[in-house]
Symmetry: C2
Subunit: 210 residues, 2 copies
DNA sequence: TAGATTGTTAATCGATTAACAATC
DNA sequence: TAGATTGTTAATCGATTAACAATC
């Protein structure tokens, strides 16, 4: 029924979305695949193909209506609704994400942040989120209808913590832990591995003559 | 002369490196592509192929010597030396990275963090890094021989800041700004786009039936 | 109608994988 | 020698791109 969608497409849609949002603020009414391509250094045909997996959003001769396409991509990406998010681990990264405006703006609501450390529990982040006890996690997940967990715990406990949150019903994980985690296939994991990006950069800097 | 190396290889090497480091701590002496593959959910042939771009590191019948392979990958990735890093922008993300242990351990030395805000300049992060004035950036980059800049500034000034640091001689950028930045091709940019990962997760959660 | 731009097909390019001879 | 595992080739798979008819 559906044509298979290449993996890189989702991320590119999110990139198109970002540009469209910006363009709509600037008052642009329409945009063509070639102008979008120029802004993003992508081939126009790739943009058209990416969109074509989900429908025909453009008008021949004119291009795409900025607002309409933005709304359509919002639906495709599932950010036309808000997702309830729990941050697990109040270390540096966890706390930095707690009020990350990029997330809050685009459909993600941080409903809580938990940690094990006595010292951290009870502390407030930017006057509106209080670090809670990880022991309360099950209750928090169920009562606040948490759908996405952001894993920012030490590597050695990551798999254990993941197993718990999955038991409590979470279906999506953004994983900041530098470790391959196992989960049932109905649980989606997206890895954000900052230190891999640094190493990839190092590699490119060292091997750039090739 | 050299066979072209597929883009995903650098990141996988960094992943192999992580596992090898772990394994060497556990006292493992050798590892085979199939056991590594099992741990990482990768095909053994992919691992062997990835390594083969850079040499023959294994011994037939036995596998790879853990320490030797680790050292070899360190060289390939360019993390056998230390890189001097400047964090540009002392917002949440910038400050979180300032003492990120994952970086410090694996070859990256944070030599400074700068910001424009009067309020932030002079403040100390974790008792060992002081936020400096972005006006000092040129001096800092030249004197401390900064090679890598970590861009954590607001989107609207990102390209301008990037242009400056490139002028000051920086050759590598880890970009946390959600924007496509332009740079001469001898300057390497690695994008870390956290909000794209959240959107990609949302996409997968919504479209998982497909 | 003429010009612009889409949506889609088919060709190309790039990455992964299976298979197996080489060899420890 | 027999068993294990590499390094490498060739086949397969997946993603991108060019090309163009359709159509606004």
């Amino acid at each position: 029924m559906f044509e298979k969608i290449p993996k890189p497409v989702a991320r590119r849609l999110a990139i198109y979305y970002r540009v469209l949002k910006e363009q709509s603020k600037n008052g642009a009414e329409t945009i063509s695949s070639s102008s979008l391509g120029r802004m993003l250094d992508l081939k126009p045909s790739q943009i058209r193909k990416d969109l074509s997996y989900f429908g025909g959003f453009g008008k021949r001769g004119t291009g795409y209506n900025v607002i309409d396409l933005m709304k359509s991509i919002e639906k495709i990406l599932g950010i036309d609704k808000r997702w309830n998010v729990l941050i697990i681990g109040a270390g540096k990264i966890g706390r930095a994400l707690a009020n990350y405006p990029g997330l809050i703006q685009d459909g993600f609501t941080i409903k809580g942040i938990v940690d094990v450390s006595e010292k951290k529990i009870g502390k407030t982040i930017d006057e509106h989120l209080t670090i809670e006890d990880v022991a309360e996690m099950e209750k928090i997940i169920r009562e606040r209808k948490i759908e996405i967990g952001v894993l920012c715990v030490p590597s050695d406990v990551a798999q254990k913590v993941l197993n718990s949150v999955i038991q409590y019903g979470i279906k999506g994980i953004v994983n900041f832990v530098p470790k391959r985690l196992k989960a049932p296939k109905d649980v989606m994991i997206e890895d954000v591995q900052i230190s891999l990006s640094f190493k990839a950069l190092s590699f490119r800097m060292v091997n750039s003559e090739r």
